[in-house]
């Protein structure tokens, strides 16, 4: 069974390329382009890893991360937060994210992360 990854990201250029790349690597990918109904998708899709953008239109990715980590059903899913602001790393760690990727990140690092986190979760 392929590992499932959810990308919560509102920039089409990023989520489209990320999903193709990860699908090419053998993952199942679901894109949630706005952060409003993420909970429904996560409970239905049961991902092994979530890539979450920090600044989504209308929603703060850190709030989503806090909710996920406070919910018993989702707290075990690894969350990697993505942001163009490296200075946001501290606040991202505080909201419970497992990893932080600063844009523009290294592609090999992204693939390595996907491999590492999805192999941990069942």
């Amino acid at each position: 069974m392929p590992k499932r990854i959810i990308i919560i990201e509102d920039d089409r250029g990023v989520y489209e390329a990320m999903s193709i790349l990860l699908e090419d690597e053998g993952y199942d990918v679901l894109v949630v382009p706005n952060g409003t109904n993420y909970a429904k998708h996560i409970s239905a899709y049961k991902p092994h890893l979530i890539f979450l953008d920090m600044l989504l239109s209308g929603v703060d990715g850190r709030d989503i991360c806090r909710h996920l980590k406070n919910d018993a059903n989702t707290q075990s899913i690894p969350v990697t937060m993505i942001s163009a602001h490296p200075s946001a790393k501290d606040s991202i760690t505080k909201c419970g994210a497992d990893h932080f990727l600063a844009k523009p990140f290294d592609i090999d690092e992204l693939l390595d992360l996907a491999q590492r986190f999805t192999s941990k979760t069942n």
Partner: protein
């Protein structure tokens, strides 16, 4: 009483120094009046000849001296003419003997000559003093006009820091009344540091010590807090003024309101910051698409597709570097460049960078001369950025197949890194400027070298933040030797 005072002021010759009123009318009236009065007294009391002569000579001499000093040569000469006229009148009326008349006329003429000499000397002295005083007044007025019309606030103090002169701009800039005699500490107490917005505590003592050591403070930046409006940014310069013996006699302080300039700089910095952040998302997307493309064409590899994907990767990499440079500059400009220090082996870092560079670019030889094992406590990423920048410059400004020599040694508690090339070199007058923002050496050279002129500016800021130094030894066509030092652990 007022009348007496007015009369006294009018008579007093010293009070009228500087006035160019050279009339003879008062001398005419008073001297003629004196002569008539003397005639009346003489006819009433029949004075003795000798008493009359003494009065006639000395009283008129006093009048001539007075009028010369009060109304210049005109006043003096008028008094002399009236006096001589009176003398001739006396001679003609009283002396009957022609021989005596002749003798008296000769004496009167002789006396007249002496009187005129006195009137001439004293009159000219008075006129010269008037001229000098007028010049001084004019100069003062000019100085006041210049001070008033200067675009900056200007304060002149004595050697103790007490204000002797200031223009109106000072009050406008500082939002506080300033007057003569006020100490400079009153102004320094209004100043706050630009970053922390805290009051500048030690400026008063540092200001005095700076002046005593005859050093100049140039364009120091401060903030003035205002209750009613937004804070004001100023730059302050202080110049000590010394006499010929080198003693401090005064100081000149100029205050410039730079609020508008600062606001526009802030907007520019905000824009660069925003733009460099905004660039990151499309660059991320671009890199992802390149990777996707690379994966998809793996199945039918041709030399051309390989070349295209490599070029795409390189260009995306360049774009990413550009965004990083812009962001670094924005951090430096806003004082947000932060160091994340760790302890690491500098020699190992240099080896890693050289290995990586050689893997990417085989056009130049990197030769390690000395690589002393040294541990430093520094920001590894930032130091790596500086080394990479200097090495990249060496590659950029040398010919293909040239050798670049690298040294790491310990010197006076510092790790000293030197990168020597035999490239085009830098003229001595540009050795300092190359570390300025947007400065690029050899702009006039025929060959163009790509770059924004930001690399060494960022490198210098990073090294300065580490408490180190960065400098260059170079001559045109003889190559460059870049050095930087940071404290060892």
């Amino acid at each position: 009483m007022k009348m007496v005072n007015r009369l006294f002021t009018f008579i007093h010759p010293i009070r009228h120094l500087g006035e160019k009123n050279y009339t003879g009318k008062y001398a005419f009236i008073v001297t003629l009046g004196s002569a008539i009065l003397l005639e009346i007294i003489n006819s009433t009391f029949t004075l003795e000849q000798s008493v009359f002569s003494v009065i006639a000579i000395f009283w008129f001499m006093i009048l001539i001296i007075y009028f010369s000093f009060r109304f210049g040569t005109n006043g003096g000469t008028m008094a002399v003419v009236i006096t001589l006229g009176y003398y001739f009148y006396i001679i003609i009326i009283r002396d009957n003997n022609p021989t005596q008349v002749n003798q008296s006329i000769r004496s009167a003429l002789f006396l007249g000559l002496a009187y005129q000499s006195i009137a001439f000397v004293i009159g000219h002295l008075k006129q010269r003093i008037d001229h000098l005083l007028e010049q001084e007044t004019l100069q003062k007025q000019h100085l006041q006009i210049i001070m008033k019309q200067l675009p900056d606030g200007l304060i002149i103090t004595d050697n103790q820091g007490n204000i002797t002169h200031n223009n109106d701009h000072v009050k406008k800039i500082l939002h506080t009344p300033i007057h003569k005699g006020l100490n400079i500490s009153h102004i320094t107490s209004l100043l706050h540091t630009p970053n922390t917005r805290r009051p500048v505590q030690k400026l008063q003592s540092s200001w005095l010590s700076t002046l005593r050591s005859k050093r100049t403070i140039v364009n120091q930046e401060y903030v003035i807090k205002s209750k009613n409006s937004s804070d004001k940014h100023i730059t302050l310069s202080i110049t000590p003024i010394c006499n010929h013996q080198g003693q401090l006699i005064a100081s000149v302080m100029t205050i410039r309101d730079t609020t508008i300039q600062k606001e526009s700089e802030q907007r520019k910095d905000d824009f660069i910051n925003m733009a460099s952040h905004e660039l990151k998302t499309p660059i991320t997307s671009l890199k992802l698409y390149i990777k996707v493309l690379e994966n998809h064409i793996k199945s039918f590899p041709t030399p051309k597709t390989k070349q295209i994907t490599k070029s795409l990767k390189d260009q995306a990499e360049k774009l990413q570097d550009l965004a990083h440079v812009l962001l670094d500059v924005s951090y430096i400009q806003t004082g947000k460049l932060k160091l994340h220090k760790t302890t690491f082996r500098l020699d190992q870092l240099i080896s890693e960078i050289i290995t990586e560079m050689q893997a990417k670019d085989k056009t130049h030889h990197h030769q390690i001369e000395t690589l002393q094992p040294l541990k430093v406590h520094a920001d590894k990423l930032r130091i790596s950025q500086v080394i990479t920048n200097i090495l990249a410059n060496a590659v950029k400004y040398t010919n293909i197949n040239d050798t670049i020599n690298i040294r790491l040694t310990r010197s006076n508690g510092h790790a000293l890194i030197s990168v020597k090339d035999n490239g085009i070199g830098i003229p001595k007058n540009q050795h300092q400027k190359i570390f300025d923002r947007l400065y690029q050496a050899n702009r006039t050279s025929q060959k163009s070298y790509p770059g924004m002129g930001m690399g060494l500016y960022i490198a210098k800021e990073i090294i300065d933040k580490h408490g180190g130094n960065i400098w260059v030894e170079s001559k045109p066509k003889k190559g460059s030797n870049f050095h930087f030092s940071i404290p060892v652990e």
